[in-house]
């Protein structure tokens, strides 16, 4: 089996496992990670929030449909990569190879990075207007309407919320209780926000996938260059 097919095969199998497991790619836990008070998990395949162990907010049907569609596309993409890598003898096997593990994992990373940057730079007018539009759109989809009325007080209540939401900012979320209690009390709550093993496996699958694609293109180019001199050498005898 050619090298690029072996790499594609590994990529396809890894991404298939990630898509079938469907666990969170980014997660946030408030409190003890083993017994969190609040848990939020997000991946291209689902969104989960748990407050004290029970589901707090359900994603709207439109988002659920999107998550299922993305999961189905991921399973389809990974299955066709695996089949394409294994069916080396078939002339159409290359058509089964695709870059879905790469586009999906990079796409998710870009979305997370963009959201983080918007949160961190939210004081600038441009990012604030763009960020506000995205946050409002997302919040309208994900949060019940009455929760939006409390957003202006959020910055006062949790001054480092943006930094705490950044992946790998594991630490403490500062809560200022003055607006609630009129007493100068600050709480630093144990808080963890991280990209999970599933995300890194998906990213590895994407990296393997793009490597396989590069090797495949390189192999095809070399084969074409080898074929050219032979054609030229055959031309005098045929004429």
């Amino acid at each position: 089996m050619e090298a690029f097919r072996v790499i594609y095969l590994a990529s396809g199998l890894l991404f298939l496992a990630v898509a079938l497991l469907g666990s969170a790619w980014w997660e946030l836990a408030l409190g003890e990670p083993a017994k969190p008070v609040l848990y939020v998990g997000l991946s291209p395949f689902g969104f989960e929030t748990k407050l004290l162990g029970s589901q707090a907010i359900g994603a709207p049907p439109a988002l659920n449909a999107l998550f299922i569609a993305l999961r189905a596309l991921a399973v389809l993409g990974a299955s066709t990569i695996t089949a394409g890598a294994l069916l080396a003898g078939k002339p159409w096997s290359r058509r089964l190879l695709n870059l879905r593990p790469f586009t999906m994992s990079i796409g998710f990373a870009i979305v997370v990075a963009a959201a983080t940057m918007l949160l961190l730079l939210n004081l600038r007018p441009f990012t604030m207007s763009i960020g506000f539009a995205i946050v409002v759109a997302a919040a309208t989809m994900l949060l019940p309407r009455y929760a939006l009325s409390s957003v202006p007080q959020l910055a006062q209540l949790a001054p480092n919320l943006a930094e705490a939401l950044t992946p790998y900012s594991s630490g403490y979320l500062r809560v200022n209780l003055y607006p609630l209690t009129r007493v100068n009390v600050y709480l630093d709550l144990a808080f963890k926000s991280q990209l999970t093993l599933s995300f890194w496996v998906a990213l590895l699958s994407g990296a393997l996938c793009i490597t396989g694609w590069i090797l495949s293109k390189k192999g095809a180019r070399e084969a074409l260059e080898e074929a050219k001199p032979e054609t030229k050498a055959q031309q005098p005898s045929t004429s």
Partner: protein
């Protein structure tokens, strides 16, 4: 079947499968909700836990070298609430006094149940007379420390920083 026909068939299959993977979930979810508003912005009710407790009584007594604070709490919320650890420092803002406090026994209260916690305060710097005089004049004091509370089955460790006055603590009587 020629190679070209096979290739076209595979391409056609991939296009149909991709379109089906995208369209089917949207069609099924939309059909199950029945309206665009229900599909995009459904009405959701969140069952938020009600965390509330009252301080029924508190008593401060002298014991050995320090103070013992007895707090009687009533869980008036709808989730089990507990304090499994507290430790920290108390210092006066304008006087030379520093003390350490710690929780003697953890407590977990089911809804509508009451119980007591005991916190022991031992002086580290300065004497208790200084603290007593300052508190009787309603002087501010700093409290910093760490605690772990339990809410239902969840645990929330946190650290706290507060500048308080005895009058503020007394008049609140709960959170």
């Amino acid at each position: 079947m020629s190679a070209l026909k096979s290739l076209n068939l595979v391409v056609l299959f991939l296009r149909i499968a991709t379109a089906a993977a995208v369209i089917t979930p949207f069609a099924v979810y939309y059909a199950s909700t029945g309206s665009l508003e229900g599909f995009l912005f459904p009405k959701t009710d969140i069952q938020l836990p009600n965390l509330k407790f009252d301080i029924l009584s508190y008593n401060v007594s002298k014991s050995n070298n320090g103070y013992v604070l007895d707090l009687k709490l009533l869980n008036t919320g709808n989730v089990a609430f507990g304090i499994t650890g507290i430790e920290g420092e108390v210092s006066l803002v304008n006087q030379e006094f520093k003390g350490r406090f710690s929780l003697e026994s953890p407590i977990v209260l089911s809804p509508a149940r009451e119980g007591s916690i005991r916190v022991v305060l031992l002086p580290v710097q300065g004497d208790l007379k200084t603290l007593e005089d300052a508190l009787s004049r309603d002087e501010a004091f700093n409290v910093t420390g760490r605690a772990t509370i339990t809410l239902s089955d969840a645990e929330l460790p946190f650290s706290f920083t507060a500048v308080l006055k005895p009058s503020e603590v007394g008049e609140r009587g709960g959170f």
